[in-house]
């Protein structure tokens, strides 16, 4: 066991029978299950980690838990993870790590681990499985309430994992822990989660926690088992029993490796059976460090002296002094010595103002040691309480910020609220657990376990925020570290106050104290104390900075959960989608939908495919899956009246069996959505919406119905997926439709434009067939139940095979509609366009009111020179203008370097027209309708392109083709 020279011969919560290999910065070490990387390093006698971030000073392990400021690791492997404290990484065989100087490395290797979530509801959530939390969970669970107990450590017990002599109900404390955990685990409604950190507390007792599920296993996780799981817990009641963190002391050279928190030393001795030193000095301001002293002695480590800042011995100090340990009251360690590690400390006496009295040089005593254990008092872990705006109060006696009052539905228990003695923690925990269960509706009584510890009552604390340097003024104390990870010192705080800064938030920002990985766990309160010392006053008058989630850092991947890759965002597809895929469609994303953009044949690029598809639609027959359009059934006696109010044009008198194009606007008069609406019968309409607008339009209709016009007899039902919609387009479409719908008289006379018919297809499928055209060609839209959508598509495809029926996508659809000047909401409009701007004055009723109407008489909306949607024809007949191209007047100097170039508008849509044999565009141009026939300039990059302004309808303006 020479590889672990500092491992004690017995004790500890480690499995000595199993030896695990570990590599730290290339150095091979060993350890045991139960170890952390830090405890294994200390067992090997290795204390040092990478040097500090800015000043390159030697640094060592300071703590034993999440508050560790120095020992940060990159855990190496297939995909490394940085910035993990060595004190929290469980040892597994073959682990390889690199220590970091506060600066991590992001591994470009893909992270293939699984991360997931879990939603949980509970009556009582207890955060922290130390004595208070265990007592709370135990008491609450006895009520039958649902209880979840979380703890960040590898096993329950909290501070008791580090204890030696403490007892509960007369037995060793860890026996009690085992019993309570066993009872909880056998309770049907209790859940105990270790390695699970509650990192955020949100409104209405919504607590989020991250569970580390696989890294400690030491073997690959089962397939599908998440590496980390984020628990979303909604709790009727929350008990916060998150304990407290010990504070270090601020003095010269306090960053030297070998300065450890006293409680951490205790943890290494008792939990990990590691004695990280052979001769220790303990420097404290309070009683808690005396447990470390007695444990050191019990472990056979020489305690050279206890330096107690308090002027007189507390009962506990006196008790320990009585065992023969040298206790020096009224003093502090003023400096450490040593090269890469502490080899001694200088001790000086403090006067009542905390100053070094007398002849500093003469009175300082040097004590040789290889470890200095420090305790500057305790800071309750109030993060979760504070994240919910729970208030804090400075307690002068405890020298700590403690919770003031409670957050609704929450209690804080144990050392998290400043109750630092074991008995008190157990009592408070029990009481909190009972109260939480009762409040959640599960009456119970419970008697608190009785706890005993060597340190009974938590004795007096001396507030000692900075131990004076032996020389100079605070502004010169560049080795009195306040924040180890950020390399910030008393001198830095003084520089901030010297600049005029008075508040802790400013000092934090000036110095960066408290902003590192540890978020000030060991530095924040000390910084407040130092600032108080600098400005005069108490820490309570300075106050704290805000506590924010997460309590400890959480990886992005854990938060993302399964919403990555294929599951990042739903892809919505129609029943015909598999056919599109099988036929080589290239897709376009529209909202969450995937729509075929074009169907290239062998060797075709998009232009060739679109040209072919367009030709088919204009000369033969083509078909498109239009199922993504939103569809809403609007029923009720007042349906017509309702539609009159929400659409700019009238619908009330639309005959049954007919269709009408409608535009709806926002109250500000700008176009919101459009679509073709059918009157199914007297009281039933079927609206269609844009693909992206479906959900929004339904919400919009419901909002008006429910909140403004509840008196209307109208019901809206979304039927988007109920109907598969297939557009059959082109001069030969009538033939194809006639073949699949033989019962239907498809003649132009019997089945005129903008009407629809219900029929049964030859295949027996009921269908609603509309004569609607978004291309200007003779066209039909065949609507069938989604159950039969794919089958009917295939029937149409087969029925038109001899006519070379051609499936087409959104790109061709856009070309066809643009040739006819039909705008696409969201492409040719952008939220600033009225129907009049879009050239659709004809769709705006002058005889009825509707949402948005009032806005058209406002000064800006009534302007004549608003941007109008018009057509543009590049004069060279060759240039296809990029969409987005800006339009300027002829002879406008293009000298943006001398000031903005006046712009008239921009190209909203631009295509090559197979039908026109030339490129063309739609554009929004200032006063565009008054410029028809003028030549303007489309500024394409640095090249001006002459464009002729035309009306928006460029193809078949007479509308001769719609009847075939």
């Amino acid at each position: 066991m020479s590889a672990q020279p500092h491992r004690l011969p017995s004790g500890g919560r480690i499995d000595r029978d199993t030896v695990l290999r570990l590599t730290v910065d290339g150095q091979e070490l060993t350890g045991h299950p139960g170890d952390t990387v830090a405890s294994a390093m200390l067992a090997a006698g290795r204390l040092d980690v990478a040097p500090s971030i800015y000043r390159g000073r030697p640094r060592g392990i300071v703590a034993a838990g999440v508050e560790e400021p120095n020992a940060l690791l990159e855990v190496l492997g297939r995909c490394s993870e940085s910035m993990l404290p060595a004190t929290t990484v469980s040892l597994v065989d073959g682990l390889a790590v690199r220590t970091l100087s506060g600066l991590g490395r992001l591994d470009p290797t893909g992270d293939e681990a699984v991360y997931d979530k879990k939603f949980a509801h509970t009556d009582v959530l207890v955060v922290g499985a130390g004595p208070a939390g265990l007592a709370a969970a135990w008491a609450a669970a006895r009520s039958g309430a649902r209880v979840i107990l979380l703890d960040e450590q590898s096993e329950p017990g909290g501070s008791l994992l580090s204890c030696r002599e403490e007892t509960v109900n007369g037995s060793p404390a860890l026996d009690w822990v085992r019993e309570v955990v066993a009872e909880l685990e056998s309770a049907p409604e209790a859940t105990v989660l270790s390695r699970t950190t509650a990192f955020g507390s949100y409104d209405d007792n919504y607590v989020v926690a991250v569970q580390h599920r696989t890294d400690h296993l030491g073997h690959p996780a089962p397939e599908g088992m998440s590496r980390r799981r984020v628990w979303h817990i909604r709790a009727a009641r929350v008990v916060i029993a998150t304990g407290a963190h010990e504070r270090p002391l601020v003095f010269a050279g306090n960053d030297r490796p070998g300065v450890l928190l006293a409680s951490a030393v205790r943890g290494y001795l008792n939990r990990y059976a590691v004695a990280p030193c052979s001769r220790a000095v303990v420097s404290t301001t309070n009683d808690s460090a005396y447990d470390t002293v007695t444990d050191l002695v019990a472990a056979g480590v020489e305690v050279a002296a206890v330096i107690d800042a308090r002027p007189t011995l507390s009962p506990r100090a006196a008790e320990v002094a009585g065992t023969g340990v040298r206790v020096v009251p009224g003093s502090a360690v003023v400096e450490t010595t040593g090269a890469s590690r502490v080899d001694g400390v200088l001790v000086g006496a403090l006067d009542e103002d905390g100053l070094l009295g007398g002849d500093v040089e003469a009175d300082v005593e040097t004590i040789a040691c290889d470890l200095l254990a420090v305790s500057g008092g305790w800071s309750p872990v109030v993060h979760l309480h504070s994240q919910r705006q729970g208030r804090l109060r400075w307690d002068e006696v405890l020298a700590a910020f403690v919770p003031e009052g409670t957050v609704r539905g929450q209690r804080v228990a144990g050392s998290a609220r400043g109750t630092f003695d074991l008995g008190g923690c157990l009592e408070e925990g029990t009481e909190a657990g009972v109260a939480a269960a009762v409040a959640a509706g599960f009456p119970i009584e419970a008697e608190a376990p009785v706890g005993r510890a060597a340190t009974g009552e938590y004795g007096p604390v001396r507030q000692l925020w900075l131990v004076p340097g032996r020389r100079g003024e605070p502004a010169d104390w560049h080795e009195h570290f306040v924040d180890l990870q950020r390399d910030q010192t008393v001198a830095d705080v003084w520089r901030a106050t010297g600049a005029g800064l008075r508040g802790i938030e400013h000092v934090k920002r000036h110095t960066s104290i408290g902003t590192a990985h540890d978020q000030g766990r060991t530095s924040a309160v000390n910084a407040i104390g130092v600032l108080a010392a600098a400005l005069g006053g108490t820490p309570g008058e300075i106050g704290t900075t805000s506590y924010r989630a997460p309590y400890t850092p959480v990886s992005f991947a854990a938060l993302a959960g399964r919403e990555r890759g294929d599951l990042f965002d739903p892809e919505r597809t129609t029943p015909i989608h598999p056919w599109h895929v099988a036929h080589g469609a290239r897709f376009e994303i529209v909202g969450q939908w995937l729509r075929p953009r074009y169907f290239p044949r062998d060797g075709e690029d998009i232009d060739a495919a679109v040209a072919r598809e367009s030709r088919a639609a204009r000369r033969g027959v083509a078909m498109m899956d239009a199922s993504t359009l939103g569809k809403i059934e609007v029923c009720g006696a007042d349906a017509g009246e309702f539609l009159d109010r929400v659409y700019t044009n009238a619908h009330r008198r639309l005959p049954v069996g007919s269709a009408r194009y409608g535009v709806m606007c926002k109250p500000d008069g700008m176009i919101l959505d459009d679509g073709v609406n059918l009157r199914l019968d007297e009281n039933r309409f079927l609206l269609t919406t844009t693909t992206g607008g479906a959900a929004g339009v339904l919400d919009w209709l419901e909002e008006w119905l429910q909140t403004e016009w509840p008196e209307l007899d109208v019901y809206c039902t979304s039927v988007t997926e109920q109907w598969t919609t297939i557009a059959v387009v082109g001069p030969k479409s009538r033939q194809v439709v006639a073949r699949v719908a033989p019962d239907l008289d498809v003649s132009a006379e019997a089945f005129p434009f903008m009407t629809f018919r219900e029929t049964t297809l030859a295949s027996g499928v009921p269908a609603r067939i509309c004569r609607i055209s978004f291309s200007g060609e003779l066209a039909y839209e065949i609507n069938v139940s989604g159950w039969y959508g794919l089958a009917v598509w295939e029937q149409l495809y087969a029925a038109g095979a001899d006519l070379d029926i051609t499936p087409y996508g959104t790109e061709t659809m856009h070309v066809l509609r643009a040739e006819k000047g039909y705008p696409i909401v969201g492409q040719d409009t952008d939220g600033t366009v009225t129907p009049q701007d879009a050239g659709m004055d004809w769709v705006v009723s002058k005889r009825k009111d509707f949402i948005g109407n009032r806005s058209y008489t406002r000064a800006d909306t009534a302007r004549a020179d608003r941007r109008h949607l018009i057509g543009l024809l590049p004069v060279d007949r060759v240039t296809r203008l990029p969409e987005g191209t800006q339009i300027i007047a002829p002879d406008t100097p293009v000298t943006p370097e001398r000031g903005p170039v006046p712009m008239l508008g921009h190209v909203t849509s631009s295509y090559h027209s197979e039908a026109l044999g030339r490129p063309f565009a739609l554009a929004l141009v200032a006063g565009g309708r008054d410029r028809i026939g003028e030549t303007l300039i489309a500024q394409v990059g640095d090249s001006p392109v002459e464009v002729l302004v035309a009306g928006p309808v460029l193809y078949d303006p007479e509308g001769n083709r719609r009847d075939g």
């Binding site: 919403e563 039902t717 997926e721 139940s785």
Partner: protein
């Protein structure tokens, strides 16, 4: 798909679904209830089953009737029961897909993405709620002690099925 620990997922195709909107307590409400054979349920999460039909509460004046009967005749019956009073009956059989998740771990699978409280004290066989599964709105209906029906809009069905299969992997 089936897993070693008894989890399975399948689609239940071609179920009839009808959306019913009617004012609770009205005569038409009673007539529709009678036509279905069991009154329309009046509380959140409630379902009412009679013969081939189950009515699921979706809102204070909205129900989804899921049935093994043919859509056409059922819609016609319900339209007749509504009898022109305020309300509506719409065939939505193809609007949603029905996925059935069953097995001892079904609840655990759902709890990876469903924020509703599925604990037996809050939710049990015969309960149905609108909620979300991952990023998708679904109607979740517990049809048996360890069987859940998940009804997303049909366009989301592929995603939801993939989501569920992924969540089931751990228990396979």
């Amino acid at each position: 798909m089936r897993g070693a620990r008894g989890g399975s997922l399948r689609e239940l195709p071609f179920s009839t679904m009808v959306s019913v909107r009617v004012a609770p307590g009205s005569a038409a409400f009673d007539r529709i209830g009678a036509a279905l054979g069991a009154g329309l349920p009046e509380r959140v999460a409630d379902t009412a089953r009679a013969g081939a039909h189950t009515a699921l509460w979706l809102g204070p004046d909205e129900w989804l009737v899921v049935s093994s009967a043919e859509p056409g005749p059922l819609v016609a019956d319900l339209v007749e029961a509504l009898a022109g009073d305020p309300g509506t009956v719409v065939d939505v059989s193809a609007n949603r897909t029905i996925l059935e998740l069953s097995g001892a771990t079904a609840r655990q699978v759902l709890e990876k993405g469903c924020p509703a409280d599925l604990h037996p004290r809050s939710f049990g066989p015969g309960d149905a709620v609108t909620t979300t599964l991952g990023p998708v709105p679904v109607l979740l209906w517990q049809s048996g002690p360890s069987t859940y029906l998940i009804l997303p809009r049909a366009s989301f069905a592929d995603y939801v099925a993939r989501w569920l299969l992924d969540a089931m992997t751990e228990f396979a």
